[in-house]
Amino acid sequence: MSGPKIRIRGLKKHFGPKKVLDGVDLDVATGTGMVVIGGSGTGKSVLLKCILGLIPADGGSIEIDGVDVLKAPRHQARALREQIGMLFQNGALFDSLPVWENVAFGLLAQKKVSRARARDVAVEVLAQVGLGPDVAGLSPAELSGGMQKRVGLARAIAARPAIIFLDEPTTGLDPIMGAVIDELIVDCVKKLGSTSVAITHDMASAQRIADRAAMLYEGRITWTGPAGELMTCTDPVVEQFTHGRAHGPIKMALRR
């Protein structure tokens, strides 16, 4: 395919008078990893939710494989979104279902396999993220934070999606577990040949899991470049954000 896997143009979203996304333009090439960075409340999660169709955009276009999902008929948009896997920040595992059913949920929902086969597939995918078959029958509440992330990743990749979204994949994990999760993400995404889009505050993680990075600031993408150059970037907004400086072009509202 010649064009980008995901092409976003002029994406807008506001909540009341507050413009959260004010004309976002972003391209994500097929088979590459993109990480979107930005301060808290700048709209990174809103951007993901708009792409996923979880909240309606107010304007602009989101093309996946050249088809605008905002204008596509419902069944076509649904088919496009069936190509997508998502790792949620807090795991978002279904606590009424055992681990294996969480992992195989997408397969069962899309009626790709029988229930018996789904359990076998779930155990295989759990093995890919470093979890043994003994975990399959457990409830999500019985798992540690790191294990929940792994199960969330297993669920995201179980249906072999063409696109994987990762919402703060290392948040709440210790640095070692964060690095382990990052390695798993890179490994799984490479094996599947998928395109990935992550949002994170963790600069080390951003450089590990992505090929390219984009800075979301004041509702727009203000910089894009190789993820490996994040820490050496001279753009004042990116430089202030990646080095965590209190002073610079990014003004944080302080309440005293």
């Binding site: 996923l52 979880l54 998502m86 929902a109």
Partner: protein
């Protein structure tokens, strides 16, 4: 002048808020009904909802019906004995239970138990992104979470009320025969002579409507909950209060429609 304008503005916002709430509720109900009818279906979710709403509510509904029938017999005897009309007790108990107390009390008890549980479960799923996760897994949350509960509520409550009718009449029978000196045969004959099919059926129609309302308010409030634990708590309270008020209000409307000629 400013105070007056503020008051008008407040009233306007209040009325708009109510209209918005009713509109959202109507759209939610219509969407829920459409998902009940249209495939795909989730029989496992439906079975689970039946267990939650019907089976696990059985003890509380049975106890409520039993004691209501017993108290009704006692109270009727106290009142009717002043006029020498003790023989009407069986009729009063069976008509009160089947037409009114069975559906209403079962509805209120199920609202407090199953309606609250629905709101809490869906509310927690909302604030922990589980509902969004369903959407990303090619599953329509309204179809997977709401439709089975609406159907189960509509079908399970009539079954519960039928049992409550029997247990409530049994409660009255036990008090009348063991404490008030009625003969078993005479009490039962009087009960069956009074009871008509329409009395039971109309009670079951009420129960079906109440069951739908309980599930609807539980799902609606849980589905739109926001703001973490506090939001889930508020959704749960709102689900029970709104369902209880609607049950009482609809009971009047349905009584008017079904019984008043």
């Amino acid at each position: 002048m400013n105070a007056l304008l503020d008051g008008v503005a407040w009233l306007g916002a209040f009325v708009l808020g109510i209209v918005e709430y009713i509109g959202e509720l109507g759209m939610f109900a219509a969407s829920g009904i459409a998902h009940v009818v249209l495939p795909p279906y989730y029989p496992r979710q439906l079975g689970r909802a039946f267990m939650e709403i019907g089976y696990f509510s059985l003890p509380v509904v049975a106890l409520t019906a039993l004691f209501t029938g017993m108290v009704l017999a006692l109270q009727s005897y106290t009142g009717f004995s002043r006029f020498g009309a003790e023989s009407a007790i069986a009729s009063v108990v069976v008509l009160s239970v089947t037409r009114e107390l069975g559906p209403v009390l079962a509805g209120l008890m199920v609202s407090g138990r199953a309606g609250a549980a629905m709101a809490a479960e869906l509310g927690t799923m909302r604030v922990t992104d589980q509902i969004d996760a369903l959407s990303t897994l090619a599953t329509e949350p309204m179809k997977y979470l709401v439709a089975p509960r609406l159907l189960a509520g509509t079908l399970a409550l009539p079954a519960l009320v039928l049992l409550a009718d029997i247990i409530g009449v049994l409660g009255g029978f036990l008090v009348a025969t063991n404490k008030l000196g009625f003969s078993s045969g005479g009490y039962l004959t009087s009960t069956f002579n009074t009871l008509q099919t329409q009395d039971v059926v109309s009670g079951l129609i009420k129960a079906a409507v109440f069951g739908f309302v309980i599930a609807l308010m539980g799902c609606f409030n849980g589905y739109r909950s926001r703001g973490g634990a506090q939001g889930v708590g508020a959704a749960t309270t709102s689900a029970v209060v709104s369902a209880s008020i609607l049950i009482l209000a609809l009971d009047y409307v349905l009584t008017q429609v079904l019984f008043v000629k």
